[in-house]
Symmetry: D2
Subunit: 375 residues, 4 copies
């Protein structure tokens, strides 16, 4: 693991997700960009001293020195965004499988380079768009792809949070700090941090391609350099229309990601804060609420579930499903067989690259006086 030391948020989530199924073990790390902090963080997690590194370069070098059967099976990159590219590129070039947090990198050039590298090396590369791991998101995807709601005509995705409604970064909050700092987050604030999840959710569930978009990005909290509120109109290549909202200044809201997809035959509605429910509104009968764990779900949703219906699963389980997909893909390669697509179900480097493009196009649109910016 690179990044994820003391004070980090998402690193611990990755570790819970990795541990949950008892299939992987954290054995080596460079857990902070500050060597001393990296090492003390590693000791917190019972890393052996010789695999507890002060920087990622040492970790990589050390792994390469070890015989193949002692090496890590894959590396997890959970640093702030600006560090992703260098680490990911180096590990891919060295032939390691990678799991990287989102947004993947800062620029399309970096994204393209990474896609090319992964293709060239033939490695596994997962991007933790964790919301795609929820069973009911997979059920929605299966229903849309099978035509159960007909042709998609309208998509609304809203990702509203409230935690950046005040200038937390001014008070030294680390999570707020790097997310609102262009040097670390790139040209995008909320649109990168959570808008990228929204874009991925649309792509995952509908498979639609954005043809053009119109963005209004605002930095509504005084003094903030990056957007904390993003609102977009979307046009898809099949003629469908869309609205995408990503905002972190909605006082009192928690993590309110919602998706609504309306087709000619029905509408689907999903809300991350009640992840086990997928509402299906068919045109010819009453509203149906599909729930996780039911025997009538699509196999891709059923296998993403660990507990019987009514025994709530949550965020960590969805995260762990992304890891389970990556692990299934690595295992298939280890034994030289094609991966079962139901098992090796996870967002890939191309999804990450598309997300980078989405951010870039959004930032371009926000700076433009033209209504539409082409994809």
């Amino acid at each position: 693991m690179v990044g994820g030391g003391r004070d980090a948020f998402i690193g611990a989530v990755h570790r819970h997700a990795i541990a949950l199924d008892g299939q992987c073990e954290l054995v080596a790390g460079a857990l902070s960009s500050q060597a001393a902090k990296a090492r003390i963080s590693g000791r917190d997690l019972f890393l052996a001293d010789d695999r507890n590194h002060g920087d990622w370069q040492s970790l990589l070098a050390d792994e390469l020195k070890r015989p193949a059967h002692e090496r890590i099976d894959f590396v997890v990159i959970v640093t702030p965004n600006h560090v992703h590219f260098a680490v990911a590129q180096a590990f891919v070039e060295a032939g390691f499988h990678v799991v990287c947090d989102k947004p993947l990198v800062h620029t399309r050039a970096e994204a393209d380079a990474l896609v090319a590298a992964v293709k060239a090396r033939g490695t596994v590369f997962g991007v933790t768009y964790n919301y795609s791991g929820y069973p009911m998101v997979r059920q929605a995807r299966a229903m849309v792809r099978a035509g159960e709601i007909g042709e998609v005509r309208k998509v609304i995705v809203e990702y509203s949070q409230g935690w950046l409604a005040t200038a937390l970064e001014a008070g030294g909050n680390k999570q707020a700090g790097w997310r609102t700092d262009p040097a670390k987050s790139g040209a995008a604030g909320a649109i990168g941090d959570i808008g990228s999840h929204a874009e991925n959710l649309i792509a995952t569930v509908t498979g639609l391609e954005i043809e053009r978009l119109c963005a209004d990005l605002g930095a509504l909290v005084p003094g903030r350099a990056l957007d904390d509120d993003a609102n977009l109109l979307l046009r898809f290549s099949n003629g469908a229309r869309g609205v995408l909202v990503a905002s972190q200044i909605n006082t009192g809201l928690e993590n309110d990601l919602r998706l609504r997809v309306a087709g000619t035959l029905g509408t689907l509605d999903w809300r991350q804060e009640r992840p086990s429910e997928l509402v299906h509104l068919p045109g010819d009968g009453p509203k149906r609420t599909l729930t996780r764990g039911a025997p009538w779900l699509h196999p891709s949703a059923q296998r993403a579930s660990r507990l019987p219906a009514g025994h709530p699963e949550g965020f960590i389980e969805a995260f762990a499903n992304v890891y389970a997909g990556v692990v299934a893909d690595i295992r298939a390669r280890l034994i030289g067989e094609p991966a079962d697509p139901l098992a090796a179900d996870y967002p890939r480097v191309e999804d990450g690259a598309r997300g980078v493009r989405f951010i870039e196009r959004t930032v371009a649109s926000a700076a433009s006086e033209a209504k539409w910016t082409a994809w």
Copy 2:
């Protein structure tokens, strides 16, 4: 009453609303543009033969012939939209108080003329933006105006229906027919029919002024001439951002009007399909759900309620609250006293005119390649 005969929808709603409180009685009408249908509809409603007219001109002429104490106290206009202007103008000019359905008229010129006429004659003119009559909408208005959520920074209003997801108009459905016919609905479809409610809800609750807007209007059902799906980005004069969605092609949805207003101190959330609940998310404590009928509500919300908490009120009661406001204003004039603002609480001709401007600007924006269209 002008309009509202057999096969009409909204006329019956007006009559329920008028009857509910036992304060008004329907005594005269021209209930259809077809004379025979008008008369048979009037007989359904126990109108006396001499006040049951075949056209609105006869109704007006007959009323003017009667002595003042026998005349109607006010006229209700519930025709399709394209008829509103002529009828409203004539009755106002003749000195009658008017209640007119929304959208008020088709053009800004008509709207300005009507505002001028009402001003000149000093009559009461209510516009049935009925959603403004819900007690919890009034509570939201009171809270925003009192600064309880701080400065407003973000507004999302979504009005999604599903009933026009198929080409009902092709099958002879009267309600679908006139709403999708430019000759009767004007240049706007969904944005006029329900988008106008959405605009009014923002204005009612927040008092914010739209400074510019960016609209994407679509006719997503093949063969339809007017928009059935509208998505807008809004900028308000105080710097707040907004998103407005009005769409009638969301298969399976009923009448899903929602409002979210996020301020620096808190967020309010209201949903028409559960009208008795107003969710308040303060920044410094847990979510509060205010409910209709509670003693701690603002007086304007309390007086808009007829039953104790937990005894559901609905659409007709909200509608009746608009009438109650009009009636209070007329009564005040009859007795020559200033109206109690808490009592004479209803949308006025100026609100209707602002709604017309909103529709006009939206249609202009939709036709423009520029991102922003000024208000």
Copy 3:
């Protein structure tokens, strides 16, 4: 109308319900047991002086003096419970149709006498178990009766309020006063006031007969003479089990009446505070939420609805549906034709009598040390 003057609660609800459809008009009354208050209340409601009486005996006598075509079509009894019997009996004996509030009377002897009188005179007698008028209650009834949830095995009905959680009666609250006074409410407090609705809801929806019951009645607010909290176990004649809760001391609750009926093939769930939704959980597919106004509802539910789906209806509409049933039955008799059962759909004197028996058996059980008290 007898009762329902100033300070009364339910009388005004009846009047809204009567007015809503424009089919009935209040023309005569004895609106209070105090003559002066009765008359001033009548003037509030625009009653003519000669039909605005100081006591119900005068009202009855006056009506009998009038020619048949000038008489009231039916009388509405909305007094406190202890007055119901004398008034109802007198009007029935005089041949008038009656609508009476619940609980019908205080004793089984009174109830039996009233049933006999109605049978003998052949009059219409409605009891305002208003919750039976909700469209989705009628839908539940239709589904259970049609076997859509199989054989019923379990029924839970819970009616929890909070308004009597403090000794409001000690502070002079009139509504609390008569409900907690054995002289006016009889032997039952909460079990009579709201438990009777709960019993009726079970009977309406399931048609099951209670075979025996076990009751625990408590007066939990210090100083109260009648039960404010009632909990019952039920056994039905088909072997089904039940739980009935009626309680007015749940601080902060409003009017939380819920019904759950579980059968061999499915379960139904309904909640009065969200009356437009009926949840159906079939054993072989996902949860379905049926909503008022949908075309796939049973005709008895469809005709109980005035507005399209998504336009909330509430308590007054349900109340008005009971009146609509009574009016349909009276009309059928006036024209000498059999009533359409779908139209003449309302709780009758026998339902009221069964409710009286339920209260009596519950009070007997509460006083008994035996587990079961036979019906």
Copy 4:
């Protein structure tokens, strides 16, 4: 671990819960009562061969042979209920810390013996009443204990499932089989399997003592020997009343455990299927919905949470919180310091024993013709 091999349900849940925090590791087991199945199940879980036993006696003997620092820190007992006592007693007597599933044992005599043994040996003994581990259950407990809802007057707990609505046991379903077999489940069916959770939830949150109870147990699915539907009236020693429902025949329901506690100052409402929300209805203000992860929660609730608000946690996390409490208590003993009560927060052997008494008294009441059975 004893029990929890292939085909078991709850053993896997325990393992997820143990793994989640990376603080414990499964190192030894006797995972089935059939030796071959035990061993193959152990291999599935990467147990070393010399710690993968065919029966629990071998596991115990082997552990005792090892030097202290190599021994397991505690044993987890997840067998069917009838095996709990022998295993638990043996491990406690041998000085091991124990985590045992519920219901603890079959008889009060066994429960008393176990309590005595734990007391005598001074070991840690946790019982996995896992619902007590939910953060919002702990918040409810803290609020009730602090008097925030005043004196408790009414408690309703309902635990309704649907999975035994048909005779699954007849079709060879293992989970249904042992739960409906008196030889394995004891005298209690649903009341033992899930009623025990309901009892524990009341005790955990309110601390009230049941003084007497009245039970109606039914085996509603034809051919079933044990209750699948249980309904109880409760009287608590402080005068409060209660209703407890535990039923497994509600077709279509999942795992619907709900608790409502009404006090003189407010009411609390919690539902397991939405575990992150605790509704608080104060008498003097609007409904409040407390959510997991908020900074204003009680420390006992805050520390039971791993993720920020809005990032759903579920069943496994609650389960893991019980383990975290056990581990904290074991750690405190290892270092010889008193345990932090906020950390060592878990249900103990005495809670398990009280649950056994509850089941015994319920079964006695069900067989009695007297209304009340003393505790």
